[in-house]
Amino acid sequence: MPKITPGTLGAVAAVALLLALPPILDLVGAPFYVDVATRIAIFAIAAVALDLVLGYGGMVSFGHAAFIGVGAYTVGILSTHASNGTLLFDGALPIGGTHSALIAWPLAVLASALVAFFIGLVSLRTRGVYFIMITLAFAQMIYFFFVSLETYGGDDGLSLWERSSLLGLDLYDSTVFYYLVIFILIAVLVFCRRLVGARFGRVIVGARENERRMNAIGFPTYRYKLVCFTISGAIAGLAGALLANQTEFVSPSLLHWTRSGELIVMVVLGGMGTLLGPVVGAIFFLLLEDVLSELTQHWMIIFGPLLILVVLFANRGLLGLLRRGTGNDTR
């Protein structure tokens, strides 16, 4: 199967560039940008997760920030309990906190997956605008849940006393943390690539294209969409766990509804229903936000119309623009 195609070459080049980034930045005297790149990569993971439901599954989720938040809070809460030595649950089976990434991160993924499962269970019964709005409503519920969660800082948020510990790696070292995040991003991309090409992915794409037909040829599409939604939530939760570690801080602002909107922007900006699209979108979105906000306080007045222009004239995303010439469009 591994043929040398332009795509494979591009992927190899991209990975090489990602790996070489920290030394390059060091060389040009801008090592700080490793942190920026890390943050972009984390949001890229979340955007890829969203693209799985949005681009491949055609489910416009307006609540994905909630899953990032749940993942981040899981790590934050476990870390708090580990730091002050208190128990998370008391009673017959007392459970304490932990700093260990090997425990905390899978739990973050699991928690987000569970939340996504239950939200999906209800939301996927609806269609179209109703789906958009009900996912937004659920995300708002979770947002307010964390706002009122006074034990864990409520609206003020929760400081991570320590970053997670992972196999003796120094996660405080920007470069180490960067490589870890890049490794996870690539792993997520590979997993998603396999997933969309496998039977499961075919069902998801089929349901996007023509759900009625999928039912008629014998697929219980609801089930598959629910699993897809859950997987997507789980990956977003992983991004949340990473973000909590990078920021060393978790707060409800992570779950604000505009965050869900920004994630959608990233996916569409880069190109829906492609795997690299969301990555490109995250890079472009966050850099643009950064550059514009350094340019002027009123950067939103540029950013807003820019968004409209993208939708009107480049709604296949940046990747789509690049590919228009070559006619190589996988969507």
Binding site: R194, G197, A198, R199, E209, N210, R213, N215, A216, G218
Partner: protein, 254 residues
């Protein structure tokens, strides 16, 4: 299976929209191996009947039995698993997938569960082989790798049929398979259906009377939500009620 028992049996199904009964006690038996056609004027309730048979519409009353089993409340996707396949009146394919992928998806629905996350579906011969066979049978094999949306109308209609038969169903419900076709395309479709009858029972909802009378073993006439007559093509043609209600003017004009 009891040979004397009909494969599909509809007992008095009723479906009302507001005050209007789109199905007003429809009775219908389809025997194994036959081509059974349903005809009727516009507004007779054919679309509603097809919806109920495929499971997209739930009847208010009555029963649908498939191979003796009550499937009245069985969801669409499970009817397909039981061996009841269908095509759509308005072409319903996956326009952005290739022709082969379209059919392979239909095969996939019947080849075990699809919670497979790692192994590429494109490498599963178990899916592609039957799909290619179905394409060969419907004369579409040379289009296998074309994007479905690029096919001509008649070819898309045949792709519909290919998707329906790829799963080796026991009964195919074909909803106006020749809709919008020219004479040459219609002739190809008739040949295809002739060929299909060797392996499967066909329930045909069709407007084109030439097709109906050329193919059918039996015909049921639906008028105002009721079956007013069922019989061989000759019997139907001779039936005075049918002629009064419908056939006369339309067939004469046709």
């Amino acid at each position: 299976m009891n040979p004397s028992q009909p494969l599909l049996s509809v007992r008095g199904i009723v479906k009302r929209y507001g005050g209007l009964a789109a199905s007003d006690g429809v009775d219908l038996d389809v025997a194994t191996g036959e081509i059974h056609s349903i005809i009727g004027p516009n507004g007779a309730g054919k679309t509603t009947l097809v919806g109920q048979l495929s499971g997209e519409i739930r009847p208010d009353a009555g029963q649908i039995l498939f191979d003796g089993r009550d499937i009245t409340t069985v969801p669409t996707y499970r009817r397909s698993a039981l061996g009841l396949a269908r095509s759509f009146q308005v072409t319903s394919i996956f326009p952005r997938l290739t022709v082969l992928e379209n059919v392979a998806l239909a095969v996939q629905a019947h080849a075990g569960h699809s919670f497979v996350f790692w192994r590429p579906a494109a490498e599963e011969e178990r899916l592609r082989e039957p799909a290619r066979e179905a394409l060969a049978r419907t004369g579409l094999e040379r289009h296998a790798s074309s994007i479905a949306a690029t096919l001509a109308h008649g070819e898309q209609r045949r792709l519909e049929v290919a998707m329906a038969i790829a799963t080796e169903p026991r009964l195919v419900l074909l909803d106006e398979p020749t809709a919008g076709m020219g004479p040459e395309e219609t002739r190809q479709m008739v040949d295809l259906l002739h060929d299909l009858r060797r392996d499967t029972t066909i329930l045909l909802v069709e407007h084109d009377m030439d097709v109906v009378f050329a193919l059918s073993d039996r015909i049921s006439v639906l008028v105002y939500g009721r079956v007013i007559a069922t019989g061989s093509p000759e019997a139907i043609r001779a039936n005075a009620d049918v002629r009064d209600a419908y056939l006369g003017e339309e067939y004469a004009d046709g």
